[in-house]
């Protein structure tokens, strides 16, 4: 059943906590209600999740975006592979110990070290980031903005779940006679999560706020939200957002230990799905504040939503409560109703539980006219990069009207509603939602619009 306005809201706190202390947090005084934005959509609910006493998201304009994954390097390669329904997944030939699963591997990284100036940052993850950065003119945009704007006004917010852990793994296989790291791997900067943002900061000369968001598989989407807040508060004039995650033993064997990896290419939302396929990707975008003079074909981040499940470390909330909260928060910030969303790029990992819960959420919240799919059958699950990679896929759908189906799904799970798209569709859409959910119950949703956003 589609739901629009007037539906009662999920409570903001589910009260599952085992712990309460007396009293409440001091509350901020209610601010004056803000003037409605021109063209702002409908409030979703008669009672918003919390009183709207914060400025609603002033949309951020996407200056340039790009993605590199097993489908290829750059936007055109992704568009072409999506249109041709050509998966980038292949049998695992990466792990040092055999593991029967499919992976989404980016070729050529082994023989593409970083430029000598940045040798101390060299590792698979940063090689992938460097390859991704140079597609679609994005790196040129970084350098050009660096000449026009003060370095401290240029921020970096990127997501990764594993950063360069593959190099730490390699160091353990190659310990020296004293049991320490071999000399070429005694580089503290790459044995920590910040190695991605640290490298990007050095490569770009962007010297404003700089963060690595690491919230497992929601990292890449949450990085967009962090960057958007910096722009809205006037802390930055441009922000590099995105995510990068690369293949490593920790995730391939770790997900296998939880029996979450499929022995074959993943089949999101299929009744017979049997787990995820892990991939690697680097995807980035440059965001600036939206302005009156944005071109008619401009694309915007119109809203974001973030929540926590408060349920389980490695399983989603059974009713999808956290995911639903994130989705509704993103819509509310964008000033849109579920009926306004033309396409949803689902998290859709092809794990039994995620897809069941997410399918039920979409069926319960969106009308049959909203089309939804998972693109993990093309790229695999790129973990901390997934939110960023799927932002680019969502923006391609907005720009070209190409709505990818759900590659790998032939018999949809009974939980799926009429929204689930199996075959590709050509259909212009004005607003797209992208969902990303991670371990620890971390949920993030992004809403993208084109043109002047809310009409």
């Amino acid at each position: 059943m589609p739901v629009a306005r007037g539906e009662p809201l999920p409570p903001r706190t589910a009260g599952q906590g085992r712990y309460r202390v007396a009293g409440k947090c001091p509350r901020a005084p209610a601010r004056d209600a803000l003037p409605a934005r021109p063209g702002a959509g409908h409030w979703l609910y008669s009672r918003p999740i919390r009183p709207p006493r914060f400025p609603s998201v002033q949309a951020c304009r996407i200056l340039v975006h790009t993605a590199t994954s097993c489908l290829g390097s750059g936007r055109a390669a992704h568009l072409e592979a999506l249109a041709a329904r050509r998966s980038g997944l292949s049998a695992n030939d990466w792990t040092t110990t055999p593991l029967a699963t499919a992976i989404g591997r980016v070729p050529g990284l082994e023989s593409a070290p970083l430029p000598a100036d940045w040798a101390r940052w060299d590792c698979r993850n940063n090689r992938l980031a460097w390859l991704g950065l140079r597609q679609d003119g994005l790196f040129d945009t970084l350098l050009e903005l660096r000449t026009r704007l003060p370095a401290h006004r240029l921020g970096i917010a990127v997501g990764t779940s594993t950063a360069s852990i593959a190099e730490t793994e390699r160091a353990y296989r190659e310990l020296d006679a004293d049991g320490g790291f071999p000399a070429d791997l005694r580089r503290p900067e790459i044995h920590q999560p910040h190695s991605l943002a640290g490298f990007l900061q050095e490569a770009s000369g962007w010297h404003g706020p700089c963060l690595t968001i690491s919230t497992a598989c929601s990292s890449g989407a949450k990085a967009w939200a962090a960057g958007a807040r910096w722009l809205q508060q006037g802390l930055c004039d441009a922000v590099l957002v995105g995510g990068c995650d690369s293949l490593c033993g920790s995730t391939l064997h770790g997900f296998a230990s939880l029996q979450l990896t499929s022995p074959q290419a993943c089949r999101p939302f299929d009744a017979g799905r049997d787990g995820i396929s892990i991939g690697e990707a680097a995807a980035f975008a440059v965001l600036v504040r939206a302005g009156e003079d944005d071109p008619a074909n401009a694309q915007h981040l119109a809203g974001y939503g973030e929540s926590a499940d408060a349920h389980h470390m490695s399983a989603p909330h059974p009713e999808g409560l956290g995911a639903r909260m994130a989705t509704l928060d993103a819509l509310r910030r964008a000033g849109l109703a579920p009926t306004d969303i033309g396409y949803i790029n689902l998290h859709g990992t092809a794990s039994r539980l995620n897809d069941e819960v997410e399918a039920a959420m979409v069926t319960g919240l969106f009308p049959a006219t909203t089309l939804a799919s998972s693109t993990k059958g093309w790229t695999g699950h790129t973990l901390g990069a997934a939110g960023a990679l799927e932002a680019t896929i969502s923006l391609l759908a907005l720009e070209h009207g190409l709505l990818p189906g759900t590659l790998g799904c032939t018999q949809p799970d009974p939980a799926c509603g009429p929204q689930l798209l199996l075959e590709n569709a050509r259909h212009p859409v004005d607003a797209v939602l992208s969902n990303s959910f991670g371990f620890g119950g971390s949920n993030a949703s992004l809403v993208f619009t084109r043109g002047n956003g809310h009409d």
Binding site: R12, G17, K24, P55, T215, S257, M313, G441, S442
Partner: protein
């Protein structure tokens, strides 16, 4: 520029089990106690879960709980920013050694505890908090970047934000390279400055790089062994006293986070 109040503070490091103990050392009212062992014990985690939980989770939950209790706040209602330079080096050491020796022996629990947001996830599960929760890292600037992010979120929502920053002592070869030899965690519950807010009031602003605040002598040894302690020490010293003053924390190559204590 944002003004806010620090309604509650939590702190744990071997020998200093809470903020009052740390404040006594910072103000010179007490000497460092003989280093005590023991693990932090968050009361909101059942004992059987505590036994299995990584040190980073126990530390983070302990100080988060302290900060909420000091503020009289219901943790279920608060958004949170968790931050750590390394995450959990002991799990890192376990994962890398297991992958080398026999990947098939990987513990699924250790694996899901290896995500950087594990403490954040456990906190949410323990308290029922469903508001936005993030986990981040920023190298040497982790504490300043996390405080900056918490202030940004407070300014965005007008609601309290809980900042939790921690790093656990490393072990094994990766611990040796990381150079994190001591465990330290602290938490600040930031609330909008309503005039009636409890706790010290601060004004936060980003400024172009200047002379960063020094680490107070009382925390110098700890700061040398733990990057979160090094980042937080100047602000903790400012919060420990009664006087107005400022703490200037490096945030990026071109920016400092400047915190002015308001009367």
């Amino acid at each position: 520029m944002t003004e806010f109040a620090v309604a509650g503070i939590g702190l744990w490091t071997p020998g200093l089990p809470d903020w009052p103990a740390a404040r006594a050392v910072l103000t010179g009212a007490a000497a460092w106690p003989e280093a005590a062992g023991g693990r932090p014990t968050p009361s909101l985690m059942p004992a059987n879960e505590r036994r299995r939980a990584p040190d980073s989770v126990l530390m983070a939950l302990t100080v988060a709980e302290q900060a909420c209790a000091a503020a009289g706040a219901d943790p279920a209602t608060v958004a949170s920013v968790f931050a750590s330079v390394f995450g959990d080096l002991a799990i890192n050491d376990y994962m890398c050694a297991t992958l080398r020796d026999d990947p098939a022996q990987m513990s699924p629990t250790k694996f899901h505890n290896s995500v950087h947001n594990a403490p954040s996830g456990y906190w949410s599960i323990a308290t029922g908090a469903m508001a936005a929760a993030t986990s981040l890292a920023a190298g040497r600037e982790t504490f300043a970047a996390a405080l900056h992010e918490a202030v940004v979120q407070l300014a965005d929502s007008g609601e309290p934000v809980l900042l939790v920053a921690y790093d656990a002592a490393g072990c094994g070869p990766v611990g040796a390279v990381a150079g994190c030899r001591a465990s330290f965690a602290c938490a600040l519950l930031l609330t909008p400055d309503t005039g009636a807010a409890q706790g010290p009031r601060l004004r936060a602003a980003a400024a172009t790089t200047g002379a960063a605040s020094a680490v107070p002598d009382a925390l110098a040894a700890l700061a040398a062994d733990n990057p979160i302690a090094a980042g937080a020490a100047p602000l903790l010293a400012l919060l420990a006293g009664q006087a107005a003053g400022a703490a200037r924390l490096p945030l990026s190559p071109a920016l400092d986070l400047v915190l002015d204590r308001l009367p």
